[in-house]
Symmetry: C2
Subunit: 214 residues, 2 copies
């Protein structure tokens, strides 16, 4: 921790923002999105907040869309890390349950950030390499878990990609509805992840259910 003027962001006396401005812009954008939502993010204000001209940003990002793409990339990185942590905390098949819960928890804890990742802010066609890599990384964490479960004979022998897509869609859908407040009265966000994983593994059909570890 280097000594630093606490009011550096407010006073315009300091002319240049030496240091990692790109990083600072990105952090400020994430913070603003968290507190104000995506639609509350303006390039002018995050510049002002950092005590920097409103065009300084263009030295580090092509435009606003590029900044949002960087925010999304950051989100996938954080999500991936939390999935790994949850999976590692509980070893074995139980890790699958924990991953699902961690996924929904991330979305509910960071709704606006999550929306930037999936809300159509980044054009799939012009998606950059870094975002693709980071997104694939999080996805692969799930694929790895599923193939491990397949090896143990706990998950049906199906194309892992297709299976992972389905599982991802399920937790993604639950997370989205929870964020949107579209879950009906009486369906608690806390109970949902557990119920989700139960139905995910056992299906909705009638008859005896068998959990993955059974």
């Amino acid at each position: 921790m280097a000594t630093r003027s606490q009011s550096a962001a407010r006073k315009p006396a300091r002319r240049y923002h030496h240091g990692n401005l790109r990083r600072a812009l990105l952090d400020e954008a994430v913070a603003t999105i968290r507190s104000e939502g995506v639609e509350g993010l303006t390039l002018r204000e995050i510049g002002a907040r950092l005590g920097v001209s409103r065009t300084a940003l263009y030295r580090h990002f092509a435009d606003k869309a590029a900044l949002l793409e960087a925010v999304a990339t950051e989100g996938f990185r954080a999500l991936h890390q939390q999935l790994d942590a949850a999976c590692q905390a509980a070893g074995g098949p139980a890790g699958f349950d924990e991953m699902g819960a961690a996924y929904v928890r991330f979305a509910v804890a960071n709704p606006s950030h999550y929306r930037v990742m999936f809300g159509g802010f980044v054009d799939p066609d012009t998606r950059g390499a870094e975002l693709a890599t980071e997104g694939a990384g999080a996805f692969n964490a799930l694929v790895d878990m599923l193939t491990a479960l397949q090896r143990d004979g706990l998950v049906r022998d199906d194309d892992p990609m297709l299976l992972a897509s389905f599982v991802w869609a399920v937790v993604h859908g639950v997370a989205m509805l929870a964020i949107d407040g579209q879950l009906p009265e009486g369906v608690s966000v806390e109970a949902l992840p557990r119920h989700t994983v139960e139905r995910l593994t056992g299906g909705i059909g009638a008859g005896r259910q068998r959990p993955l570890r059974g």
Copy 2:
């Protein structure tokens, strides 16, 4: 067809837009969103497109957010109708499969409109009564289907609301990922609905699967 100047939209000679302007504004908004996306929707342009002042809209909608909420309401109405149609076309338990497929089809056919319905454009707290009614209507179509299947012993005896939430989340998640282009290479949008319903009913666990109609 009354005789009408074809260039009425361009020339300011015709002063008033008699007729249902609210309806016209809504239709124009939906059309613009379809062709340009939500971020391409400007109140000024849809006014111009209708040969009307850019502030005329405020006689019919409180603001842009209110217009978007009306667009979302319209979307839920259309979705509900298509779900009913699919369910009716195939009678019995097969109606469930068709509903799932119809849901994903609707989202993929109207990606931008679908995003307005679920993309956080309408604040859950200030959500109007009409939107809530229309959304609940579509949801209830699913609840009804599930309770019917429960009566036939084809779906597990669980809280229908919770069950419906789960099923909705699954198709919603699949639809969202498909729209976002986040489905991995080789996972076709056509095959996905069928696979979704299969995994939905049977689960992802290993062992013999039994379809709902079995």
